[in-house]
Assembly symmetry: C2
Homo-oligomer: 224 residues x 2
């Protein structure tokens, strides 16, 4: 379903370059949970950003259901993402001038969902992540883990078939984090299982995946 | 050494208020490691910010070695913090226009440390956190865990007697995180043990503390 073919990503670094990803090829099966693990700086977020089309590889290709993410012009890609993908950024990327409810509604407005339905969905999701009493708080009036939960609710807003989650439980205690994972996999809802690709440093979280992919120095690491 | 006496913190929240901390009293022994744990939103960061004087309690007092942090005027407090405290923020608070080395040098410049010594110290610390090859990278050219490590190096720059660390290993794999803890406790350096007050969701990290303090709904939680 989602395929990375021989992708590399090279960044300039002063006089030198950094090869964040080095000829990586990977496939992600529909409806499965894949955990991406590896040391800090090993290329995990770079990989996730390329898969969701937030960045372009220096070489190689990303395709989703046969559609080339890499070749899509930005506007087409933006609509494609809106229609199919949900993304939880490592630094959340919440809009600071919008409150929690407005942040979650944002993708729904972009998807032209009618206001009443938007509001209902946003409030539902915020309640599901335990923020029912924080919907009017702006990001700087929320704790770190509360901001993370708003980002999670936002990624779920359009009920996408693929969710990319970059450290979705890093700022959550294990009880809260556990509930979040249920929500992300979508399985608890009895709906069709969504594809979840998540980066984590937490081995308990990784253990709940169907498949674990290890990255080291921009390459797949088959080691133990 | 560091004492919170009956501190409360109340935030406005729309029509209502949020009581982030509710008449909390605590003491932190010099040279010891204290871990603060508790659910997301329970008041941990609020507590840490009040202890280091980044915020003022709605009521109650914070004192360090008998000096009232709460009563100090901002300029005095800023110098006091520079002289005694190091702080690792949950969201790092790096200066985006400065590169890694410049971010670490910042407290040293503020402390009027001569340039050559500043540069030497910053480079040493960045090497110690594994970023020897990233010193010219700005925050947006660094991975999440690399940004976290710059924040850690910066907190250590002035070799403070007290370090406040808000989730210092949240974005680090366990191997990297483990080395960071050694560095933070300062014990590996053979120097006088510093006071480390750290918030963590990671029970392995908490297990390395001399004392664990549990917070729930803005109060001390004596429960299991
Ligand atoms: N814009 C950039 N310019 C230069 N180097 C970069 C840039 N972005 C990332 N890098 C480098 O690429 C490497 C991989 O970054 P990436 O964010 O993918 O790591 P990561 O595995 O997600 O790490 P972490 O677990 O710390 O979040 C890092 O060493 C980083 O310094
Ligand atoms: N400026 C603010 N205005 C209103 N409410 C706030 C503000 N800052 C924090 N809060 C609320 O106070 C509570 C405690 O926040 P705090 O950041 O101390 O939690 P925390 O224990 O650090 O959580 P986490 O583990 O998620 O980082 C949260 O529920 C938060 O919504
Ligand atoms: Mg990352
Ligand atoms: Mg916090």
């Amino acid at each position: 379903i989602l395929q990375a073919s021989d992708i590399s990503k090279v960044y300039p670094s002063g006089e030198d370059t950094v090869t964040a990803l080095n000829h990586l090829s990977l496939e992600f099966d529909a409806g499965r949970i894949t955990a991406i693990v590896g040391p800090s700086g090993s290329g995990k977020s770079t990989l996730l950003n390329l898969l969701a089309g937030f960045d372009v590889p220096s070489s190689g290709n990303v395709t989703h259901n046969g559609n080339s993410i890499t070749a899509m012009p930005e506007t087409t890609l933006a609509s494609y993402r809106l229609a199919h993908f949900g993304f939880i950024f490592q630094n959340y990327n919440l809009v600071s001038i919008l409150n929690a409810q407005e942040n979650v509604e944002l993708p729904l407005s972009l998807a032209s969902v009618p206001r009443l339905e938007r509001t209902k969905r946003a409030k539902e999701l915020l309640a599901r992540v335990g923020l029912g009493k924080r919907i009017t708080h702006r990001p700087n009036q929320l704790s770190g883990g509360e901001q993370q939960r708003v980002a999670i609710a936002r990624a779920l807003a359009t009920n996408p078939s693929v969710i990319f989650a970059d450290e979705p439980t890093g700022n959550l205690d294990s009880a809260t984090g556990s509930g979040i994972l249920e929500l992300l996999t979508g399985r608890s809802e009895g709906s069709e299982a969504r594809t979840l690709i998540l980066i984590t440093h937490d081995m308990e979280v990784a253990a709940r995946a169907d498949k674990i992919v290890k990255i080291r120095d921009g390459r797949l690491d088959s080691g133990a």
